[in-house]
Symmetry: C2
Subunit: 460 residues, 2 copies
């Protein structure tokens, strides 16, 4: 009996081979589409479903692709020929909210925003806020160590995860971490699983921090600059001045042009007045910032040639944030988009924008870019023609990676490696670390069934 | 040529076999003394020294015990027969302070407080503050994922470490992590090394977060309670009310008695007035807390029967903290002490104190206890007679561990496993995780030369 038949015998309706359903799980939000359909899709409804699937797949030596909501941007959760996609999207219960211990226990399919909404009545929040929070799951967030807009002040997903239940490749259930704030018994396997993109095990439960929701007033500053470099310098100056904004976002000239085309000039004028420029910086302070903090930020913005508009009411703040938020819809409306994800030390942000402009010009490729400037994470966007990366775009993206690495940065701040960046991973890690990490994987997954071909390039 | 001779040939004066020097490195601050002297002590002065030592030891199959300042409390860095102690205490340069990127780069032998002092002129701080901060090194702090008083609000060492340079067992130099805030390229080896107690590699450089030093006024509340359980309940209530104190410390009745004997009644009366009790809670808010925050804490303390004394001037705050700080010197003055280190979910703090009282009474053993109540980390202290744990003390300590685990807690919050808790580790981790972690170790250290016999019990 083949694996799909055995799985169907054990799991019944949770297993499907309907080609339409399989077609949907060979892609994600990156735009990547695997050439072939996977063997089957298992929609697990319980830990036992996940254990059975892995146990049988391991015995058969068949690859398993763990998948949450399919909102990934690196093709880390797409199925292809010969593998089974294991979705945990239906395991979406919030099992516990515990204000006394400041934690929540959730199944992996819980949507990030749903958890946050459930915590709100307790005055608690789940801090990691990827832009996809309305549609992405905690399990997927853990797989990619998801970030978002608030990371410089409130940390990435790794900082929010206290412990995990993980099904190992052979179907055994492993518990990691603690319900306590501190704990140093053995290795930090929890942190090892965070960001491991489904290559070490399948997360079936997570104990996460639920911290007091930041209270107090919000002050938002929007500012246009003549050049994006100046906006980046202002952002770096705000970090160095230790002003600690909750959000600091940057939109470059090409990205602004797209936003303008999408929202219309009037909407931007309504929020920002008649001024315009080639770079837009958005700075938001929470927790009732001291007036001198806001004034200092205004001063640093003006010093770099920016024209700040300060808003202390929530509605105008939202309008200003709306300019930043409109970027991805604007790009999506203009065609298929490859969203890159390099990160640089914050002092190098202006240099990173210079490098992008230079690469854009030399290759004749538009690279509209937004950045989580507060933490140095840039999302240069490539508009893809006809569903394929042209050699020209590929060359430009390769140079972008090299430029980020040369600045002491990284290939991916928050999206993960998946398939799309696996050929570049060794360039960042070096051969020793790359080999060591593959051996760590082999400890957890000796038969190599977990997310084969993802993160680590298949070199054999 | 034997290994010590080869090392001496390569490293000269950095190698010593002087019995007095060797005697000093077969113990640490736990009071444990290894039965025999190690083969030699290497005092590395450079990365190359560490690489040479490991390369040659690996070839020879001789064990290496990495060591910082020797302030550990779990015998994790003590040498014994047949091994070489590799000290990095002399590698104590601060290599970089970078306010723009909010980070510092240090050698492992830098003293925690020295780093913090060096950051202060920039308005920055190094947040992890183990009680040993004046004498313990960053390398040792990383090895044990050191905590301290500020962890509930400001995190443990793991949250402060961005990247590492580590010499692997065979002498190769590995770099992990990023100078960026975000990064998800491959596995989080940085977090894997933090808390690994020298069993995976030797940290020779660390890139750590240097965050803006909390500013504003400090408000300190000291409160005596009739019973320690009430103090613990007040502490849990303050967590649940989301008041976020920077420091929240608890001193039980037996511990108070020791402090009183050490400081004298007058000093305590001077700080706290004539009131006394069987439990002392200290709550400190930083960053100019809102008056309603302080009032709410006072209310919660009074609700549990405590008598709070609020201080808004730094001098009185220090006096109140002095009561807590006097505990370890007081105990040390009374004889040799085994400082335990269990951690429980914060909602179980009162239960943990009940369990300790019950164990103390049943075994007829005094267990004066202080707790980092803000994060649920308790330090029950056993006064050891004549340098040896009596069977009675051992039985009491074993029960303490079991009680903590039964509450969903952990054997060690911040001191590590070392030798002293290795026999208990499997009880907490379970057989699967224990075996898996040993296999992870084998990836990094195939010949088993790194800190042999520490953390994982030698079962072969």
């Amino acid at each position: 009996m083949d694996l799909v038949a055995r799985l169907t015998a054990e799991l019944g309706d949770a297993v499907t081979v309907d080609p339409e359903r399989l077609d949907a799980v060979r892609t994600d939000k990156s735009g990547f589409i695997a050439p072939n359909l996977p063997l089957a899709l298992v929609e697990a409804e319980s830990v036992e479903h996940v254990q059975t699937t892995l146990r049988l797949a391991n015995e058969a030596g068949v690859g398993i692709v763990p998948r949450g909501m399919g909102t990934g941007l690196a093709a880390g959760a797409v199925g292809d020929a010969g593998v089974i996609v294991l979705s945990v999207a239906k395991m979406n219960r919030i099992l516990e909210i515990n204000p006394a211990d400041e934690l929540a226990v959730v199944e992996p399919g819980v949507i990030n925003a749903d958890l946050d909404d459930a915590l709100a009545p307790y005055g608690l929040w789940y801090a990691p806020d990827p832009a996809s929070k309305a549609i992405s799951s905690i399990g997927g967030n853990i797989a990619t160590n998801a970030g978002g807009l608030l990371c410089a002040k409130y940390g990435v997903t790794r900082e929010a995860v206290l412990g995990l239940k993980v099904v190992l490749a052979d179907g055994r259930l492993l518990e990691t971490g603690h319900r306590t704030v501190k704990g140093v018994t053995g290795y930090d396997l929890t942190a090892l699983f965070v960001g491991s993109e489904g290559t070490l095990g399948v997360v079936v439960e997570a104990t996460v921090r639920a911290l007091p929701r930041p209270a107090g007033d919000v002050v938002t500053i929007g500012a246009f600059f003549p050049r994006v470099r100046q906006a980046a310098l202002a952002s770096s100056a705000i970090v160095e001045a230790q002003l600690r904004p909750a959000v600091m976002e940057l939109v470059d000239g090409q990205a602004l042009e797209a936003v303008r085309g999408y929202l219309g000039d009037a909407v931007i004028r309504d929020a920002m007045g008649p001024t315009t420029g080639d770079g837009f910086l958005l700075v938001q302070f929470d927790e009732s910032p001291a007036p001198e903090t806001v004034l200092r930020a205004v001063e640093l913005i003006e010093r770099e040639g920016g024209e700040p508009r300060v808003s202390t009411d929530a509605a105008t703040g939202e309008q200003l944030l709306g300019i930043r938020r409109a970027f991805h819809p604007a790009l999506a409306a203009s065609g298929e988009v490859l969203i890159e994800d390099v990160s640089v030390p914050r002092s190098r942000l202006a240099d990173a924008f210079d490098a992008i402009a230079e690469i854009s010009e030399r290759h004749g490729v538009r690279i509209p870019t937004v950045a989580h400037a507060g933490d140095g994470n840039l999302h240069p966007n490539f508009v893809v023609e006809g569903g394929l990366l042209t050699p020209q775009l590929k060359a430009a993206a390769d140079e972008l990676f090299r430029a980020a690495l040369a600045m002491g940065g990284t290939l991916t701040g928050e999206h993960g490696v998946g398939i799309l960046k696996r050929h570049h991973l060794i360039d960042e890690l070096g051969a020793d670390s790359y080999a060591l990490q593959r051996r760590v994987k082999a400890v957890f997954d000796p038969r190599g069934i977990l997310n084969p071909g993802k993160v680590f390039e298949i070199t054999e």
